[in-house]
Symmetry: C2
Subunit: 482 residues, 2 copies
């Protein structure tokens, strides 16, 4: 039998932190004279009580988790956080159904950004801030996971990012905790800078803070139905574009840069690939927009860069309905949904390093076809990739494809039309936000979908966020047999 | 420099065979009193002249091909055959443009079955027979390739099917030639049986022969616009369903069965998987059709089994427009397009054995996550799979995804709507035939697409048919550097 105490302990601590987070919207709503402050205060109390109880009743000496325990902890902490985070949505004046509230909370914590709320402009500030805060917390949460937990779980090739200190030695935990808190600080500072920039560009203080949180977290929740398009400002679009890219790079490299390795960012092959892919797609879409519409080259570049970066990074802001950009744009936006940013960032999707590993493997494969007796070794970041990592990454790709197909078929079974089903499945599993088509496209919301579809999509978001295997493994018999 | 003589020799022989094939429709048209017989006769003469010249001028002692030469030979023989096979389409009374003729011939030789011809019912018998014959020749061609050439080229994991005799020893070639001719005979006999069954079920002799050729070849060309739906007969649907399944199993197993291993078919894990997948999909679609439409369970089973088998095997016959079967059916038909049948059959697509290898690798991956120090070995057909094969199969999967995405984006760029672009790309690269949607769905044709789209799709069909790498490798610099 597994010892659940350390798992309950971790979840308890996380819930207590969430409870503290709920105080922020409570204060804001109280200042704004909105009665919802009581909902947040009571939700906070309930969450703190349960979280505290979990923490206190399961104190264990030290925090040594087995791999098996770490799997359970990861999935269940995300589930519990979502559950408690959805409370305010149910009891606030929005009065969402439990399904909608859970969907909205899951979409927030996984930094997806799909929403079921229409009329955001009339929603009280507490709820808007809560949505932004969920994405912000989910963003730093996943960065810490990518640095401290996923390499240990070795899901989908994440073992590539094992630090020298990842061995289960005595020094490992303090070292990881130190790195995590440094990165947390960098995350906070980047959010501040982004907020200040938005404010200088003309946003209100509230909008600036809320959007900065969802920009750096590549989440995509906005405070208005029109998303960033509502502000219609060149400088705001530019700040958001840069902010989303900042959120898509490996945060550990910012730490390295600050510690004196000034070239860390530019020398990282994942960053190089990511920037090249972004440039190629942006330039193609710009050219298409310029030639096929009445836009000037500068306007085309503005709309293309903002919306491409927003979708490729899985943020999901919109400034215009790219579903309407014609026959070239729709498949492009569909496929770039899957790409994502770099590992160790706030983005989701397949992620750049997996494409690099796949490319290196396919290239080696071609050489091997020509010279069956030659020895060819694939490289990542100037280091050889082990066969284990290659198989791990390639299995991820395969399982990703299967999950996507099953999700899309499931949605089809619930009555969604082809484009809605396929693109919703893609947007959920890649944590992007908007899908394609008239219902769930950038101009719509997920509100009209049947409840069962919302549950399926919530499951898809969780799967995608936790690198698939972390969740799937819990359904295997051999996992529980021990 | 590569020695092109053996390549030219092989292509010359194949062209001469094609020229002999052209005599068949010439005779039929002559009997039917149709002036097109002259077109076929002249095409045959021209092809025979060029093929003969190629054969005679490049006689080389023995037929030892290097791996490099085999790659060039494979792609170029398919290209040359397509080129000459398209001549009758241009000069017959149909008067197709060269683009349309090339598309139709490529779709035939690759056993795809997408067509640009409308009004098949009024087309002269010679052309109809020529289309059927192309698919039939393409079918046996690909079986021989899968047995004799692809394992040597080791493309996409086909090295799994290397026979003990595949070593380049002195005995290898005669042995392979003997197996190829035995399998050719089996192919011929199966076609006869299928034709006889169609005829007994009420088809005219001509229709029976034409359809039997495209059934066993899982090609899908029909003699009428309504495809097999026109005959509206339970027994014909059943014969076609069985025939398509027969064409989707590894032909080498038929040979083994005839040689006394009566359990060869049932013990093969690829066959088991294929039949299980077909059953699961057929039963789900039957249940859906029964519950969502006014059909009786028997009718639902008839339409579901016929159309699912037709698409999963990449045949592409239609008895009804499954695009109209509602929201569940469309994504199902979209995804099963990719599956295909068994390796060593006439089908295309990803093929069952690759899913087995992927599944085995992903399963091993899960076990490995739980027990990092355990040793887990993936198996295929009770034999361990080498890492080389796994990487090879997984790279295939990845390259397949990339080619599909690029093709779909390219089609989108040419102005095709989302559903048409995505499903045409899928149908071409998997050699299925019909796509989805009002234009290129089972009720439409590829005629209305722009010329550039037809060329792109022709390229996609060739790529898919020759297991991608065979074609792609010709574009790599290191291939030609030697």
């Amino acid at each position: 039998m597994m010892d659940f105490r350390p798992i309950i302990l971790v979840i308890g601590i996380l819930l207590s932190a969430l409870a503290l987070g709920m105080i922020v919207p409570a204060i804001v709503d109280a200042f704004a004279g909105n009665p919802d402050w009581q909902v947040f205060a009571i939700s906070s109390g309930v969450t703190l009580f349960i979280g505290g109880a979990m923490t206190l009743t399961s104190r264990s000496r030290g925090l040594r988790l087995s791999v098996r325990q770490a799997f359970v902890m990861t999935t269940f902490s995300w589930l519990f956080l979502t559950l408690f985070a959805s409370i305010p949505f149910v009891f606030s004046e929005l009065g969402l159904s439990f399904t909608d509230a859970f969907f909205e909370a899951m979409s927030g914590i996984t930094t997806t950004g799909s929403t079921v709320i229409t009329g955001l402009d009339t929603v009280p500030p507490g709820i808007l801030l809560w949505r932004a805060l969920l994405q912000w917390l989910g963003g730093i949460g996943i960065i810490v996971m990518a640095i401290a937990v996923f390499p240990m779980l070795r899901v989908g090739g994440m073992q590539l990012f094992r630090m020298e200190s990842s061995d289960p030695s005595e020094k490992a935990l303090p070292r990881a905790a130190q790195i995590a808190s440094s990165i947390g600080l960098i995350y906070l500072i980047l959010t501040f800078i982004c907020a200040a920039a938005y404010w200088l560009a003309g946003m209100s203080g509230f909008d600036a803070v809320a959007h900065s949180m969802t920009t750096i977290a590549t989440g995509g929740y906005s405070t208005t139905d029109g998303s960033l398009g509502n502000f219609d400002s060149w400088s705001i679009d530019l700040i958001a574009t840069i902010g989303m890219i900042v959120g898509s790079l490996p945060f550990i490299l910012y730490l390295k840069t600050l510690r004196g390795s000034y070239a860390a960012l530019w020398q990282d092959s994942q960053v190089q690939w990511f920037m090249s892919i972004v440039c190629i797609v942006v330039l193609s879409v710009t050219a298409w927009l310029w030639l096929s519409s009445g836009l000037t080259p500068a306007q085309a570049l503005r709309y293309a860069s903002f919306n491409v970066v927003s979708i490729i990074t899985g943020t999901g802001y919109a400034t215009s309905d790219y579903s309407q950009w014609g026959s070239f744009a729709v498949p492009v936006f569909f496929f770039i949904m899957f790409i994502g940013g770099c590992a160790g960032s706030t983005t989701c999707g397949i992620k750049i390093f997996r494409f690099q590993v796949l490319y290196a493997a396919a290239r080696t494969q071609l050489h091997h076809l020509l010279q069956p007796h030659g020895v060819f070794i694939p490289y990542y970041n100037r280091r050889p990739i082990s066969d284990e990592v290659i198989v791990s990454v390639l299995s991820f790709f395969f399982v990703f494809g299967v999950c996507f197909a099953l999700l899309a078929i499931g949605l089809g079974m619930l009555g969604l039309d082809y484009l809605t089903a396929i693109s919703s499945a893609a947007t959920a599993i890649s944590n992007v936000g908007p899908a394609l088509g008239p219902i769930v496209g950038p101009a719509g919301t997920f509100q009209p979908l049947p409840d069962a579809a919302k549950w399926l999509l919530s499951g898809g978001m969780l799967l995608g966020r936790l690198e698939l295997f972390t969740v799937i493994i819990l359904f295997s018999r051999s996992f529980w047999r021990g």
